[in-house]
């Protein structure tokens, strides 16, 4: 790997940026710089003078990078977006994963393709992780709501934990709702009766 080869990552999400950085380092890229600030972005990028810029697609500063392409004509630096017209599949995969790449130097396309492929798989792995975390989190939330509703029913109707749960489950089935939804209405009702 060419040691002078520089990659800049612009991503506000520190975890995702770290995952990306690690991946690039594992792949042998030595010079990987993370930028999380939005102010003076162009200036910082000019100073770093990277060969490739990787940016989170949901970053408003993408528009700032677009200016860089415009300005490059003035400063006569070779600059191009590697995804050209024939690369529709790459653009789609990148957009789906939420990453966008810009070439700054006159790089060989295959090289950038490898970097982007790595980023796409890392980004996808990250979003899988995130959605699993979200699932776990909401499952935990539901558990808490159900436990609270059980407590309310046990106290109000003098039930055992088992029968309180059975009551919630039966009501949910009858009303074609999720147990957590019924539990939430029990809690809401209890708040109102306070």
């Amino acid at each position: 790997m060419d040691p002078s080869f520089k990659i800049v990552i612009v991503d506000k999400n520190p975890i995702r940026a770290a995952i990306l950085e690690d991946g690039l380092r594992e792949a042998g890229h030595v010079q990987v710089v993370r930028i999380d600030e939005t102010s003076h972005l162009l200036q910082r990028i000019y100073t770093l003078d990277p060969d490739v810029i990787l940016i989170d697609l949901e970053n408003p500063s993408r528009d700032v990078l677009e200016q860089m392409f415009q300005m490059s004509r003035v400063v006569k630096r070779p600059i191009a977006m590697f995804v050209d017209q024939s690369d529709r599949a790459s653009i789609e995969a990148a957009v789906d994963a939420g990453v966008s790449a810009y070439i700054v130097g006159g790089l060989r396309k295959e090289r950038v393709q490898n970097i982007l492929d790595l980023c796409i798989s890392r980004f996808n792995a990250f979003s899988r992780l995130e959605s699993e975390l979200e699932k776990t989190r909401s499952a935990l939330e539901e558990r808490k709501v159900i436990d609270r509703a059980k407590g309310i029913l046990m106290k109000a109707k003098n039930l055992t934990e088992e029968t309180a749960y059975a009551l919630l489950r039966k009501t949910a089935m009858n009303e074609n709702k999720k147990i957590a939804e019924v539990a939430q209405s029990v809690i809401t009702a209890a708040e109102l009766f306070k």
């Binding site: 939005t38 949901e58 993408r62 677009e66 200016q67 415009q70 003035v74 977006m81």
Partner: protein, 397 residues
């Protein structure tokens, strides 16, 4: 094909940037004008024009809120992948303003030879301020705008160049996402900016900016945003496109009726729409803006047009004007063929087909582009337009 069949075919995804000129689109969906046409539309809020453009280009969006020059640049293959776009509905005419810092306002006022409300006076004053700064060895003034291919970029350049300021040599023009404009003015990263509503008002309310000009001072009628579709999608889905244009025309009428204004502003205020207080939005639609931190206001019925006075009907002469600016500032080569391609992005014919039986206009005013400086713009004579200016990147002579 019945409208219901249309909806069953496909759910439409439309991207937008939280700005006042997305109103016709937001109201078309939120007030049910699209549903009444049998369309199931999902609105997706976006953070950058580059993102909107890419998602429209690759088909993640069926349509999008676009700054008119992006639709043209995409169709001509400038700056990015070439994807032909068609714009059958104009979401907004005017709406931009130039806001300057209190310090720059004071310098301009001191240097102004005449009425500071006159853009030629302020442009000449800017030339003096720029010259003085250069003499003193101070940093050049920095102006924020939203995108290289943007009306904001061209409005700023058109204004300053008329006063003798070369926008590429004498000042810095930088791209800033609209939500960062105000912060950048506050912490002095920029001295001024040109942006759409509501950001100018936000800066004035915070006491950190003066609205120097409405874009209507510079060009009485400036195409701003369009509803853009991929050319291919438009050809394959003519009924859906027509239904969307109709829904937008009805929504624009609804927005323009002052009786509905409170309701409109309330619908736009939530965070998943524009995310700004209804009172601030209301000023934009009323064309009555607070222009200085001391509370002075200024009214202009043409501050932002959402469908009124034929604003919804795209005017190809406007596309030609925008293309001429791209040529003037070195973003596009000049050819009659490219000019024709740029004009073909704006599709009044599709607008007319869709709105048959409605009270919409069927012609645009012949001389719809005047400007505060230079000769009347003639879309058939771009070379003449470019030759009229001393400052520009591609002098034609």
């Amino acid at each position: 094909m019945t409208p219901d069949k249309l909806a069953a075919d496909k759910r439409l995804r439309i991207g937008f940037i939280p700005l006042c000129d997305a109103t016709a689109l937001l109201i078309a969906v939120d007030k049910g004008f699209t549903a009444a046409e049998g369309l199931d539309v999902e609105l997706v809020r976006e953070v950058s024009w580059a993102n909107i453009r890419d998602k429209l280009n690759i088909g993640l969006f069926d349509a999008a809120h676009l700054i008119a020059p992006i639709a043209i640049a995409s169709s001509l293959g400038l700056g990015h992948v070439k994807v032909p776009i068609v714009a059958p509905f104009a979401l907004g005419v005017n709406g931009n303003a130039i806001t300057v810092s209190p310090a720059l306002y004071a310098s301009l006022a001191a240097a102004a030879d005449g009425n500071i409300g006159d853009p030629l006076v302020t442009a000449k004053a800017l030339a003096k301020v720029v010259a003085t700064r250069k003499q003193r060895g101070q940093e050049p003034l920095t102006f924020g705008m939203t995108f290289p291919f943007s009306t904001h970029n061209y409005h700023l350049r058109f204004w300053m160049a008329a006063g003798g300021v070369d926008p590429d040599e004498d000042v810095r023009l930088v791209v800033l996402p609209p939500p960062y404009m105000v912060e950048s003015l506050a912490n002095r990263h920029v001295d001024a900016f040109c942006v759409g509503a509501p950001w100018n008002s936000v800066a004035v309310d915070l006491g950190i900016g003066f609205i120097l000009h409405f874009v209507s001072d510079i060009l009485p009628r400036a195409a701003e945003k369009v509803l853009g579709f991929r050319g291919r999608w438009a050809r394959e889905n003519p009924e859906m496109l027509a239904a969307l244009v109709r829904a937008h025309a009805k929504a624009a009428d609804f927005v323009e009726d002052p009786a509905n204004r409170d309701e409109v502003c309330a619908l736009l205020a939530p965070a998943n729409r524009i995310g700004v207080a209804p009172e601030v939005l209301r000023r934009t639609f009323d064309g009555r803006l607070k222009v200085s931190p001391d509370g002075a206001t200024r009214s202009d019925p043409n501050y932002l047009l959402v469908g009124r006075d034929g604003a919804g009907r795209p005017d190809p002469a406007q596309a030609a004007w925008l293309y001429a600016q791209m040529v003037r500032w070195g973003q596009a080569p000049f050819s009659d063929e490219m000019c024709r391609a740029a004009m073909a992005v704006f599709r009044p014919d599709l607008y007319d087909d869709a709105t048959i039986g409605m009270n919409g206009p069927t012609a645009n005013a012949p001389a719809s582009i005047g400007a505060f400086a230079g000769p009347v713009f003639d879309p058939r004579d771009i070379a003449g337009h470019l030759a009229a200016w001393r400052i520009g990147r591609v002098p034609i002579s």
